[in-house]
Amino acid sequence: MPATLFKTFKDIIADCLIHVQIFKKNILLGYMHFSIAFGWFMLILVGHIEVMIYTPQRNGVLYYPVFFRYFVMETHETLRGSFFFFLMDLSLLLVLTGIGLAIYKRFHSRILGMRRTTKLRLGDKIALYSLWAIFPLRLLAESFTANISGGSFLTISINHLLNAFVTNPDHILPVWWGYSWALGLFLFALPFSRYMHIPTEILLIVLRNAGIKSSVSRDGYAESEIYSCSRCGICIDACPMTSKKRNIKFSSVYFIRLLRRRSTESLATADKCLMCNKCVDACPVGIDSTRLKLLKRQEMHVRSRTDYEYLQSIENKIDATDSVLYYAGCMTHLTPAIYKSLFKILKSANIKYTFLDIDGSICCGRPLFMSGDKESAKELINKNRELIRSSGCKTLILSCPICYKFFKEEYKLDGIDIVHHSVYINNLLTSGNIKLHKGIGSFVFHDPCELGRGSGIYNEPRELLSAIGIVKEASQEKNLSICCGGSLGSLTLSFSEREQIAKSSLNSLLTNNPDKLITACPLCLKSFSTYNTIPTRDIAQIVSENLI
C-alpha cells in the first residue's frame, strides 16, 4: 500500500507537473507543457507562502494570493522579501516562455514535433485565449505596481522602462482588471474546455494506480479518462488511418470528445478504429481509448445473434500428452506456408508436435470479441479451451498474434505454456536445437500490432533474424510500428482505406532498402504481399529456408 501511494505521488509529480511523457516525445513540446504547469504551480505556491509570511491575518482568503501585489500596494505595507520576489518573477518568466511557445505552436506545430493538432471548439478557444492573456496581463499588472509593492528583475525593469506611463494611478486599475477578467474567464470556461484535464488527470492517476478498470464506456473510471483527455492531438499523428489526411475525424481524440458530449456518432468512430493500440501507446496521459471503443461496441451490441450449436458435435479426439500442441487458427490456414515451414523446423529439431486444428479451426474468438459480441466469443473460447485441455498438452504454439494475445488474456489456460512461434523458434536456436545459415541478405521486421504493442514481444524475432542476416531498421518500428491495414479490429474500414494504410506502412518499412520484409503474423503477411515490391515472408518461412 505505501508503495502504491508513493508511486501515485511520483506519477502525479512526473505527469502533471513535469510532463515527463511529453518530454520523451519532443523536448520543446515537453518544455512548453512543463513551463506552464510547473511555473503556474510555483506562482500559486510561492504566492501562498508570501501571504503566510507577510499578511498572516489574510491566510486562507482564496483571492488574496492571486492579487497579492495589488492588495499589498493598497495597504502600503513594505516588503523586503527579495528572495520571493525573485522566485515569483522567475516563475512568471517560465510561464511566459511556455505561453510564447504555445502561441508559436498554433502556427507552426511541426517545430514542436506535431504534424497535426486538434481543431478547437468554442469552449476550448475561450479557455485558450484567456489562458494566453492571463500571464502577460499579470506581468503588466505587477509591473505597474512594482514601484509601490515591490518586484524583481522582470517587473521592476518594466516599471522603470515605462515609468512615465506606469506611475499614473489611472493606468494601474485597468490592467489589474484585465488580469482579473482573464483569470476569471479561464476558470469559468475550464469545465467546458479541454483544460478540464488539469484537475482530472490527478484523479485518473490515483484511480489507475488503485487498479480500477472501466466496465462501461461511461462509468467513473471511463469518465475520468474522458475528462483527462487534453485533446493534444498526439494520437492524430499516431493513427494509421490519418496518413493521407483522410479519416482524421476518426482518431481517438475526436472519439473521446464525442463520448464526452454523449453523441450517438461515437459508435461510428468506435467501429472504424483498427484497434492497433498505437494511439494508446502514444498518449501522454495514458488513456486506454481502445478499451473505451471496445466497451462502446459491447454496449451497442445488445444481443448475440449467432448460433453455434454445431460446435457441440466436434469431438475432442486430439491427444498431445507427449508432444507440443500447435494451433494454426483461421488466418494461418489461409497462409499454409507458415505452418508447413514451422513443422519443418520442428522436425529438424526433433520435436514431436500435434496439429490441433488440422481439419479446420474454430476461431479463437478475438475478432468476434473485438466486434463487441462478448457472449458469442465466450462460446468459441469454451469449445477451444475444452479441445486444448482434453489434449493434455503442456506447450501450445501459435502462429497468429491475434490468437496469441487472446489465448494469453482470455483463455485462462493455467499450467499450459502458450508461446508464439517466433519466440519458440528463437528458443530452439538459443538452446542449440536448430542451426541456421547466416547469409548476407538484409531484412526489415514488421512488428504486428498484437505481438508488439499487444503482447510486448519485440526482441525475440529480431534476435532470430540477426542469426540469418542483417536486420535493418524501419522508420517507425517496435512500439511505433504502423498497422498493416488488415486489422480485424476495424468493422467499417473499406478496402481502399485499408490499401492506403498498407502502403503507408510499407513506405515506413522499406526506408532502408531491405531485401525482404519479414513479419510474424499471417494477417500482416497476407495484407502486405499484395502491395509489397520486395518479397514478404513469415519468420518461420525465412528460418526454414536457412536451416542447416
Binding site: 483461421c330 488466418m331 479451426s361
Partner: protein
C-alpha cells in the same frame, strides 16, 4: 405413402414479391459493398465455419436478393466473424460488416 420409385422435388420457384425492399435498402445503405458481390464463392471456399456447417456468404447474398430471408439466416448465423472471407474477396467487400448487419437487420432475437 406408396413408394412409386420417384418423388416430387420441392418448388424452386423464386417469387420476387417476397423481397423486403425496406430491409434490402437498409443493408445497402449501411454496407454498399452488398451490391458488389459477383458470387464467385471465394468466401464460402475459405470459410472457417464452413468446415463444420453450411455457412456460405455467397449463397446468403443470393438468397436475400431472392427474398428468401429464413434460408439466408440459417446459412449465416454460424459465422465466427474470423475475417478470412474479407481477405480473399476479389471484389474487396467488407464481408464482416456485411455479415454483422445482415444479422442485425434480418435476424430478430
Amino acid at each position: 405413402m406408396i413408394d412409386f420409385g420417384y418423388s416430387l422435388t420441392s418448388s424452386s420457384r423464386i417469387s420476387l414479391d417476397n423481397i423486403n425492399q425496406k430491409k434490402l435498402k437498409k443493408i445497402t445503405a449501411v454496407e454498399p459493398d452488398f451490391l458488389k458481390c459477383m458470387a464467385c464463392g471465394s468466401c464460402a471456399a475459405s470459410c472457417s465455419a464452413g468446415n463444420f456447417t453450411k455457412v456460405n456468404l455467397r449463397m446468403v447474398i443470393l438468397l436475400l436478393n431472392r427474398g428468401m430471408e429464413k434460408e439466408a439466416i440459417a446459412l449465416i448465423e454460424g459465422c465466427m466473424l474470423c475475417g478470412k472471407c474479407t481477405l480473399v474477396c476479389p471484389r474487396g467487400i467488407n464481408t464482416r460488416n456485411l455479415i454483422i448487419n445482415i444479422l442485425k437487420i434480418y435476424k430478430e432475437v
